[in-house]
Symmetry: C2
Subunit: 392 residues, 2 copies
């Protein structure tokens, strides 16, 4: 196992009605004037925004608002949020929404206290300082509620890039599974697929002998496979929503990814799909993962056979591990299909003719110029083209 | 799932040589004058104490020392530590050792800033304030390195009791698996058994539909069952030590125990054994767990059958769940025996004639006077006597 540090100091308030604690939690973590950041109309229509405002008012916390976050959140709104916070002397950002809203909030929080262009952080600069961020989560998916990460899309070139730093790990996150009960099945399934991807991509390691985190990851995927169909069938299954919500946080706060190399190939290749077609990130992952896994599995077929056996219940064929591994990848593909996710380019609305451009941006878009993607395996532009073609 | 809060803000530095960060970590968390608290000679003989001191000196941190912590740490040394810290104006406690040393350090940390008798906390008062505590862990077992808990034995009456509070959760913990390689097999196995007990006792819940935490617990037990025999065979298997060390932390920081009722019956019944005979806590648990589980399994035989199937690989006999459940308990018993743990009173050095007194203290020793123990099931003094008798 590799040396590591792990620090996850987010305070979680989990369960029914916990959004009423928003005001007292902002206060606990030192906020006096808040930017409430959110997306479209659902948090308004559902009354959630009003409940959060009432809680802030009750705790004597001032606030202003900035709505309009879109899925695959854009840099334009981040710049607007930064200006607004500076002008209004905001000292705390409260995200009310899903991963996109939280990521946009994190970007604003880092940008407000930074002299330069916030995009510097999304080109590789580590975030060392930021306003405190809190979240009221409305979809189990991105894991941003417990992570030090943020992904933003820059309109100029539609570059979708990530930034990281303990400074943007939320001070608190309110996780009320009831708030996810109104999500349409497609979004619910896309969120679940994102969670499963966070687990798979931690599982695909080149570090030997990491059984504890292997077993944790397998356990969390098993729970996702068990619980997700329940909420697709009955959106009001509170306990299943709750299990998924906690699994989503655990999948991405990195307690099951410490001390091991990880593989963010599927996320990287998917990012070009959601940046190009503005599709749901989880839907893109449903199409991407099986293609990436089939393409890279020979790098360590035993690892794919192990997860096939332990998670998908495929009998281990010791004399033909490839068969076991492939059956596991097929089981994953069948599973995401069964919960309503697309499994090919056509179903996603993606086009073959865009492949060369996407593969190029995927390999060269980080500005490093190496043209290589490092993860479970090392891939170049031709490999990425081949992977996209497998999705046709 | 029940509502819950979860807050685990300990900074972990994990891996080879990480103890060299002790000084910089004390500084990071605001310490200027440290009490180094430790147990017997092993941390001295191994040179660990000197390395920690060198690290503190390098960071310009002053320190004093208090050794002499015993397994099942006593209140006498806690009082001594409190006086010493007040006299020397210590502002940070650094535990160098295992669970006993960490628990003693937490008690001192709470006591120093409290006007009353620190034992109040061990009679039910919540710890709201304490000096900051850091740890350099030398045995994977108690999970105290990531928990808000402390267990101390009061010499007067040999009462072994626990206290809790976020204030005593360590600010940082240094986990270097190399430091555990010199542990004798018996202590290694006792530590592993303690970890397994922390997982089982979270598993035994009356909360329905908690699949995510169920699966996490099962995964962590599977890892323990896989890794422990490796270190019994080869104490220098670094990766196996590392897997056990992280599993030990995850088992008890409560991320796999949130939102569900838990069962601390085995710990409660064992505490009388280690308080009476000063045996290793984990050895006591090896004897206690199978007896408690056989006695209480009919309360929810399906739960015992589930863990028997998923962890111990016992085929699920749907028409006779009891058979499956019992086979799982036997598998646990066989496992702890296989790693060198005692499985009955005689092997532990316990005596039948002490049963009435231990059962009485177990049921009435908390001063509440109810005589009942609440957990997975409700037990009275006669039940506890019957459980001790099963251990003969």
């Amino acid at each position: 196992m590799d040396n590591f540090t792990f620090y996850a100091p987010t305070y979680f308030a989990f369960g029914k009605g916990e959004e009423s604690k928003a005001g007292s939690l902002v206060k606990k973590f030192g906020g006096t004037k808040v930017l409430i950041h959110y997306g479209g109309g659902s948090v308004v229509k559902s009354g959630l925004l009003d409940r959060v405002k009432a809680s802030l008012t009750e705790s004597g916390i001032e606030f202003i608002e900035l709505g309009g976050v879109k899925p695959n959140p854009r840099s334009g709104l981040v710049y607007e949020g930064i200006e607004l916070c500076r002008r209004e002397k905001v000292d705390f950002i409260l995200a009310v929404g899903g991963g996109s809203t939280i990521d946009s909030s994190k970007a604003i929080a880092a940008g407000v206290v930074y002299d330069g262009d916030f995009w510097d952080y999304y080109e590789g600069k580590r975030i060392e300082e930021a306003l405190p961020v809190g979240t009221v989560l409305t979809i189990a998916a991105a894991g941003s509620e417990g992570s030090p990460d943020s992904v933003i899309t820059k309109e100029d070139g539609m570059l979708k890039r990530g930034a990281s730093g303990d400074a943007i790990r939320p001070k608190f996150s309110i996780l009320n599974p009831e708030l996810t009960e109104t999500l349409p099945p497609y979004q619910t399934a896309a969120g679940a697929t994102d969670i499963i991807a966070h687990l798979y991509e931690r599982y695909l390691t080149n570090t030997p002998n990491v059984q504890t985190t292997d077993r944790m990851i397998e356990g969390l995927i098993l729970a996702m496979v068990e619980e997700t169909p329940k909420v697709i069938k009955n959106p009001h299954d509170y306990d299943a929503r709750a299990n998924i919500m906690w699994a989503g946080m655990m999948a991405h706060n990195n307690s099951c990814g410490v001390g091991r190399s990880q593989d963010w190939t599927s996320h990287g290749i998917e990012h070009e799909l959601s940046a190009t077609y503005d599709c749901a990130h989880g839907a893109g992952l449903a199409v991407t993962m099986p293609a990436v896994f089939e393409y890279t599995m020979h790098h360590d077929v035993a690892r794919f056979a192990q997860i096939a056996n332990r998670v998908w219940g495929i009998p281990m064929n010791e004399s033909n591990l490839e068969e076991t591994a492939l059956a596991g990848i097929k089981a994953l593909k069948d599973f995401v299909k069964s919960i309503g996710m697309p499994v090919n380019f056509a179903e996603l609305g993606a086009k073959e003719e865009d492949i060369p451009q996407m593969a190029h941006t995927c390999c060269y878009g980080d500005g490093s110029g190496s043209g290589k993607r490092y993860g479970f395996t090392v891939l170049d532009e031709n490999d990425v083209i081949a992977i996209y073609k497998k999705m046709l």
